[in-house]
């Protein structure tokens, strides 16, 4: 209560407060578990890339199995080649000229990130994907000449 006798926030009942705390606890635990799993998948990816062809196939099968389990539980990878950048779940680590890719699209995934889709809430980014973006062709055709006032223009 404040000096006016009014409260600052809607006051949930004890049961609602307990439920909210429990939900937050679950969210925290779930996020932590998935983050650990994602770290493990990073290692699997490194092993796959360094393995011989036969072993690499085995690692790839394991990766696909884990990915399937994740998807079944509402967790999905957040980056794919050619996708336009989504800064909510893409962390840009570098830009590179690439004639074959449109500007600001993903050309390389340095580390895969994941998001969890919660019904009624939408996707929550558990870990961003580290990506390299295309800055377009190295030598772009000259843009229409701008006057000095364009300095203040919105980026586009």
């Amino acid at each position: 209560m404040n000096a006016n006798g009014s409260t600052n926030v809607p006051v949930p009942s004890p049961n609602e407060a307990a439920l909210e705390r429990y939900c937050r606890y679950l969210e925290r635990e779930y996020t932590s578990f998935v983050s650990s799993l994602a770290d493990m998948l990073d290692s699997v990816e490194v092993w796959r890339r360094n393995a011989g062809p036969e072993e690499a196939t085995r690692w790839a099968v394991l990766q696909r199995s884990v990915d399937r389990v994740l998807v079944q539980h509402g967790i999905r990878p957040t980056a794919r080649q050619g996708q336009p950048v989504d800064l909510r779940c893409h962390e840009v680590v570098a830009m590179t000229p690439d004639e074959s890719a449109a500007a600001d699209t993903v050309v390389q995934i340095i580390q895969m990130g994941y998001e969890m889709v919660l019904p009624g809430i939408g996707p929550i980014c558990l870990r961003p994907s580290k990506v390299v973006l295309s800055s377009g062709a190295a030598a772009e055709p000259a843009e229409p000449k701008k006057n000095s006032c364009d300095e203040g223009a919105i980026h586009g």
Partner: protein, 705 residues
């Protein structure tokens, strides 16, 4: 929850506005402070803003995580660590140091001498405006989380922040649409979070706050009735980022060993290395034997790519930590020596801040403070959240203002309900008797510069550093009148011996002295200081029979002046500046110059507290903004409509704004038709005429087809 009382005001939260990250907390129904996660569900919101580059999002800024993620794409326009620049002038030595460490541009404000702005995209923003955008995001996210408006906040600042820096933080809060209840020292907030409700809390606590960018120590006196910051020290340019940079250097050395190339100006790779180093620091600090770094994309000298993997060990961390430990030890010992504090005179050392979790730092502090076998050093229960939680507790405790007549008033009241006097000199009332009060002390001395005999550079302190405030009864000092022609008073802030070495806060001038005073007569200067850090200056001439006693008010907290017209102008000013920056190419030169001139006049009206002028200029500039600048005004209105909760219409307005912008750029003759159609949509949307707006949407489709 249908029987809930309707809240008269929104929620009050605590905000730790950090150099690297910011955090909000609120005291819930249980009485404990809880962190309010942001929209992405994360506790921390990076204190970063960046311009949007996507056409769909034109006119807005990225804030928080998205801005941080954008750093690799646009390092020159991504603003980080803005807290370092708050309240500083362009020529301040701290700004010069900061410029060497940051990737964006700091410039002198073209419209205000010695004021600084940062370049972000095509716009120039003041540090207050950048911080306001961060605070605005925190406010919005908290509102979303609470499903209730957030109207009030306690914002924390380092104990060493001087008045202009505190005032700038306060202004940022106001620009973000918050009513700032109090600016609270970070160590006080941390101690409050740790010792609130604890009966036998230690008496003299050294708060050791080692964050991402700064190292602060503050000695707090804690009694059953309250917390007081006694002294403070530290190193403004030492933090966890230095550990990250050190580890990044180790990684760079390994890259060189593998034949890779790391260029100094390759901001993107540098950013990646820093991130990897930060991750490695966390892993190694948790006691792991190794930190594995995978997939670091590095270029060889011949241009080919190298996919690097490496392991860092505790020995690498120790090597990195050695110079940092040395700097921490030096800073701490210098502080203890300066304040004449032997380690055993401190009853408890409370470690907060993310970098305090590094074991080497904890060992160092135990080495300094526990040599006599008494256990004093401890890590806070939640070292990274303690400050925000303490601010939230304080926000919850403050429920009103007690007037000097004794009457308790609503927190938002400006004058006392009983005696009608201003409440600026009142004190906060707490929600219950067990709440400890927080006494504010002046962070620096205040006084006047004057001529003493042959010394033209004398400085007389009137309010001493560390004095408790509010000071309702003026503290007076008497001088000899140097001349009868006119009397000039230099109001100074600082603790240096010479007047010229201190900060000149204001110059006051009395042009006409009473006729019966002569050179050498006494003149008495009085200073009073209220809880909102407004300095009241009065001058009296004891030898004169005339009742002549001029008074001034030096308002360091310009955001809450008693005059609402000036207050409104303070809010309007940055909007107009942004408008000019954003749409400069679309405003006719004559109109632009006129608006620039209005801006200068407005700044003058604020400085001189000219209410009439403030009212006039507010009207003039508002009309220019919303109506007087043709396409620019239409686009400005459209930008404001985008934020309205009306998705379909909002989308059409956004598309229309982009189309109009392009047409204006291309000098397309159709632009006037588009402008009129867009204006119609915007008006409908702003007036909430949704049905009519739906019809307009049909017309819009026809027009734009």
């Amino acid at each position: 929850m249908a029987d809930m009382p309707v809240p008269r005001r929104g929620s009050s939260i605590g905000i730790d506005l950090g150099t690297t990250n910011s955090l909000a907390a609120m005291v819930g129904n249980s009485g404990t402070a809880d962190i309010l996660p942001n929209r992405a569900g994360e506790a921390w919101t990076p204190s970063v803003i960046s311009p949007r580059r996507s056409k769909q999002e034109a006119g807005n800024y990225l804030v928080g995580t998205e801005a941080l993620h954008n750093f690799g794409r646009d390092p020159r326009n991504t603003i980080r660590s803005i807290k370092r620049l708050m309240g500083l002038t362009f020529n301040d030595p701290t700004v010069r140091v900061a410029r060497e460490q940051i990737t964006y541009e700091i410039l002198e404000d073209p419209s205000r001498a010695n004021a600084l702005v940062v370049r972000i995209g095509g716009s120039l923003l003041t540090p207050e405006e950048v911080s306001a955008k961060i605070l605005e995001r925190i406010k919005t996210d908290a509102e979303e989380r609470l499903n209730n408006p957030v109207t009030h906040a306690v914002i924390t600042v380092p104990a060493y922040f001087k008045e202009p820096q505190r005032a700038a933080t306060w202004n940022a809060g106001l620009l973000a649409g918050l009513s700032v209840t109090a600016i609270l020292d970070e160590p006080t907030a941390a101690a409050l979070s740790e010792y609130h409700g604890v009966k036998d809390s230690p008496a003299r606590v050294l708060v050791f706050d080692f964050g991402g960018g700064t190292l602060d120590f503050s000695l707090l006196q804690i009694t059953n009735s309250g917390f007081t910051v006694i002294s403070y020290g530290g190193d403004n340019f030492l933090g966890g980022d230095d550990i990250d940079r050190g580890l990044a250097r180790v990684i760079t050395e390994r890259i060189f060993d593998e034949g890779g190339v790391v260029k100094e100006d390759d901001y993107r790779l540098q950013a990646l290395l820093k991130q990897e180093a930060e991750a490695a620091k966390k892993i190694l600090s948790s006691g792991a034997d190794t930190a594995q770094l995978n997939n670091i994309p590095v270029r060889r000298a011949d241009g080919s790519m190298l996919d690097l993997e490496m392991e860092l060990t505790p020995a690498d961390l120790a090597r990195t930590m050695a110079p940092i430990e040395r700097r921490v030890r030096e800073a701490l010992e210098k502080y203890l020596r300066k304040e004449s504090l032997p380690p055993e005179s401190i009853t408890d050392v409370l470690m907060v801040g993310g970098s305090s979790a590094v074991p080497a730092i904890q060992r160092l502090l135990r080495d300094i403070f526990e040599s006599d076998g008494v256990r004093r050093v401890r890590l806070a229960r939640s070292p990274m959240e303690a400050v925000a939680k303490g601010a939230a507790l304080y926000a919850k405790m403050i429920v009103g203002v007690r007037c000097i007549c004794g009457q308790e008033n609503n927190l938002d009241a400006k004058t006392c309900v009983k005696c009608n006097k201003t409440l600026q000199s009142g004190t906060f009332t707490m929600d219950d008797a067990t709440s400890r009060t927080i006494t504010s002390r002046l962070p620096g001395s205040m006084g006047v510069g004057y001529r003493a005999g042959n010394d033209a550079d004398a400085y007389q302190v009137i309010l001493r550093k560390g004095s408790l405030y509010p000071i309702t009864e003026p503290i007076r000092e008497t001088f000899r009148l140097p001349s009868t022609l006119k009397f000039t008073l230099n109001i100074l802030e600082g603790d240096e011996l010479k007047a010229s070495q201190n900060h000149l806060a204001s110059v006051l001038q009395v042009d006409q002295l009473p006729p019966d005073v002569k050179e050498g007569d006494p003149v008495t200067v009085g200073f009073a200081y209220d809880r909102n850090r407004i300095l009241y200056i009065s001058i009296t001439f004891p030898s004169s029979k005339e009742k002549f006693s001029p008074q001034w008010k030096l308002d360091r907290q310009k955001e809450t002046p008693p005059d609402e017209a000036i207050n409104a102008l303070l809010v309007l000013l940055p909007r107009v500046r942004n408008f000019l920056n954003e749409y400069r190419d679309l405003i006719e030169q004559g109109v632009r110059l006129k608006l620039q001139d209005d801006l200068d006049q407005a700044q003058n009206a604020i400085t001189t507290s000219n209410r009439t002028e403030a009212e006039r200029l507010q009207g003039v500039m508002s009309r220019s903004l919303f109506d007087g600048c043709g396409i620019a005004s239409t686009l400005f209105m459209a930008e404001h409509t985008i934020a309205q909760d009306h998705p379909k219409l909002g989308h059409a307005v956004k598309e229309g704004a982009l189309k109009l912008r392009q047409q204006a750029k291309d000098r397309d003759p159709e632009k006037e038709t588009t402008r009129k159609a867009l204006e119609q949509l915007v008006t409908r949307a702003l007036m909430g005429e949704k049905n009519q707006a739906s019809e307009d949407l049909g017309n819009w489709d026809m027009l734009t087809r």
